[in-house]
Symmetry: C2
Subunit: 237 residues, 2 copies
């Protein structure tokens, strides 16, 4: 497999970075090719703007997704976007590796999503969810957070973590057609012992060595909806 | 009321900007004080990093939230963060005004959340949800998106929009103690007529003129959980 790991953490020696290194080591040991986009180290620009396009469909008025489509066709996307897009298209597996900030991705990583998942390639028209432009590839989210495990789940104070991660898991990764594997989560990281961290790393290694057995999360399929994207009646499915 | 409107859109003449202007005009006409943080116009830096602290609790290893707490106490937060924080503390109502990118906020706005909602003031320890540091203030999210209204809701292809916005509505705004009003949503914006846009503006104006009647969305209260944040049994509530 070709693997693209996108990593975003402001501390180079963070435990999130240890998860990144564990993934690289484990996946390479299994014979996979791995590329890492370390967004802080790259000084990645997370801001979607008119500067992302060297030619414009409409120079007077920016509709970002429309300009992405032209940029793809005419190969006039900004160089930093095109490089990440090339890595993404090369990859069979995308790993997003980050600390949970406000129950979602740090702005640095959100800006990778905003700029790299371009309309016209990753999605467009009726190409989304199971018909998305990146179908056939897989995605894994690996996250660290401060909260304890019992604060998440049905009836817990924050509800299920998967519900908080919905815009990423469903609204982004599944939307562009990726098979989204259940997230890997390291809980309570700033407060735990070195031994507990080692246990998370060992557990992540084992998870990565057996990724082939993971079942993707279920999401809507376009065949469940009509041409106007209204739900088909249950009895006609 | 004092109102802080945080706006993030890469096109200065966007319909999202028209919503911003409508809000300013309507609220001022009602006698409210309004400040606008136009993040693209300000060239806001959305990247949380070590540069955000001129003094460090631990110069060797960055734990962002811990450094925020010191920065608050010793007034060593970066000037751009402190300015936004001062506006936030001045405000009785926070409006986040943005186009939906990937079912969430553009990185530009996410980076305002990451950097400005500092630990030690906005939350910390057991001060979150109804005990959050910003309790007593209100929040309103006003968004534009490309999708049609029937694509959202129970059974719809994307599910309820409120579920997609959960990390913002619950995980961010309610987490810091704000009373979160139901979002204002302008659907299908890139594809609709000028008249349809005017209708959204009129409807937004009416909504803003009657904000006092809006009931906040219900979220967990800390009194429903024990000291370890485990849920109390239903019959002991």
């Amino acid at each position: 497999m070709n693997v693209l790991l996108v990593h975003a953490h402001p501390e180079p020696r963070s435990f999130t970075a240890a998860l990144r290194d564990q993934a690289v080591e484990t996946l390479q040991a299994q014979g996979h090719q791995v590329q890492v986009s370390d967004l802080y180290a790259m000084d990645w620009n997370p801001v979607a703007s008119a500067d992302d396009f060297s030619a414009r469909e409409n120079p007077e008025y920016l509709v970002y997704a429309l300009e992405q489509r032209l940029g793809v066709k005419s190969q006039t996307l900004a160089a930093d976007i095109q490089q990440e897009l090339d890595k993404l298209l090369w990859a069979d597996l995308l790993i997003l590796n980050f600390p949970i900030y406000w129950f979602s991705a740090p702005a640095m990583l959100k800006g990778w999503i905003d700029r790299v998942l371009v309309s016209g390639i990753c999605y467009g028209g009726k190409r989304f969810y199971d018909q998305g432009g990146l179908r056939g590839k897989k995605a894994l989210v690996s996250v660290t957070l401060g909260g304890r495990e019992h604060m998440f789940g049905e009836g817990a104070i924050h509800g299920p973590l998967e519900d908080m991660l919905r815009p990423i898991l469903r609204g982004t990764l599944a939307y562009v057609g990726l098979d989204v594997l259940p997230p890997f989560v390291a809980w309570h990281v700033p407060y735990i012992s070195a031994e507990a961290r080692q246990e998370f790393l060992a557990s992540y290694q084992q998870r990565l060595e057996n990724l082939g057995q993971d079942q993707p999360i279920e999401f809507p399929r376009l065949s469940q909806f009509d041409d106007g994207l209204y739900p088909l009646a249950q009895n006609t499915r």
